[in-house]
Symmetry: C2
Subunit: 252 residues, 2 copies
């Protein structure tokens, strides 16, 4: 009857296992570099081994797990360099999307729709000054902006590939937004990022492919800066989704 019940009925056991497992991993409830026991997972999730197994295979393909030589899977752990590379990869692919959109041209309606999204982001950025809870709203709008931008390239394959690149939560466009929210620099970072949102649309509209590409690459590097800032502050670091998977040099 409730939305949850409806979801429960609609979702297959395999999907349920996939979602639940992903959450357990990102929350750090399954420790990195440790084998995931299928039996305990069965007990925890209330589904049989078969769907658990399916989910494990999918998560390995996603890059969140790695297979163990003697059988089974373990949660993967990531170094700071891994994360930096992941962000750079996403930036490169989003840059490609922006360039293709600019070069191929986009329908005026699609451009208008994403420009609306930017307007909403503008309001949101302005309001964060008084209302810090706006960050969750920013998170949503920012994710929407990135999805819409990628769609402008009109390429199935590119969407797929960028989705894959953003599977690691700290590589996704929204990865460090919450972590950033507690930093003193937070407002200026928002302003800069928002300016890049506007700039890339301008470039796309003017069919300036190289510029559009360069902007999106630089835009991703905002996340990289946030990563470094987050690593310096425990309070900020705790807000990074999937933070438990990060192998830090020194635990303070």
């Amino acid at each position: 009857m409730s939305a949850l019940d409806k979801d429960d009925r609609a979702l297959s056991q395999s999907d349920k296992a996939l979602l639940a497992l992903r959450e357990l991993i990102l929350n750090g409830e399954l420790k990195a570099d440790e084998r995931i026991s299928e039996l305990s997972t069965v007990e925890r999730l209330g589904v049989s081994r078969t769907p658990v197994r399916m989910a494990l295979v999918r998560l390995e393909e996603e890059g969140l797990l790695e297979s163990i030589a003697t059988g089974g899977f373990a949660v993967k752990s990531f170094t700071e360099a891994d994360i930096a590379d992941a962000i750079e990869i996403r930036g490169t692919l989003e840059g490609l999307a922006a360039r293709l959109a600019a070069e191929r041209g986009v329908a005026p309606e699609a451009l208008a729709a994403i420009q609306d999204c930017v307007e909403e982001l503008d309001v949101c950025v302005r309001e964060t000054a008084q209302n810090p809870e706006q960050f969750t709203q920013y998170l949503k709008l920012n994710a929407r902006f990135h999805t819409m931008l990628i769609d402008l390239a009109n390429s199935r394959g590119l969407v797929r590939q960028i989705e894959r690149a953003s599977t690691l939560p700290f590589a996704s466009p929204s990865g460090f937004v919450m972590a950033q929210s507690v930093l003193p620099e937070s407002r200026s970072i928002l302003i800069i990022a928002q300016d890049q949102h506007r700039a890339v649309l301008d470039a796309i509209q003017k069919r300036e492919g190289a510029r559009a590409e360069a902007i999106m690459r630089e835009h991703a590097r905002v996340a990289h800066r946030n990563l470094q800032l987050a690593l310096q502050s425990q309070r900020s670091f705790d807000l990074v989704p999937g933070g438990a998977l990060i192998r830090r040099r020194a635990t303070v």
Copy 2:
């Protein structure tokens, strides 16, 4: 006793199913946009449904299959635009690898090793003039070159992502080499590609990141030209691996 027997023993049923299914798909023995019957597959491969199922899930994640709304999986089909995009994506990521290698610098031994590979390619290209069978050798060396180049970036994540981008056989660096071999332009294409191999290493050695990146992007576009040529000649098209998955506009 034979190598095959040894492999058969070493390979798990799941791996066996994965390899066999991938081959069936690429050979076109499983028709595109048609559901893959698990039961018939079980009979064909001689393994039970469980490993077949695992393989199907993996192949869906790879992008070779798509799930059907009513259950099960079907072989995906690709348009010319899909393939062009896939090649552009690979070129972009290989460009990133080359740039990172140039910017970060590479160990002299690693550079020497890949330069040896280029030397071998040189010999190979020269000999194709008299000996067309050299193309299979070129295929091997070319694949090795690309693998080694990507490794120069020293990034786990990037290797993963490029592997994924090259899963579609026609997106891989070797995808159109055989198709090219029957074209009249084949020798000049080889010479151009080989020059790009040399040039990118020169750029990496001199730490010229932007140049290294641009060269690899352009290098991928050789494959794109080969695609267009191959589409014009049935004889050439038949040599494209996974050609059965390509939805052609007009079948001649």
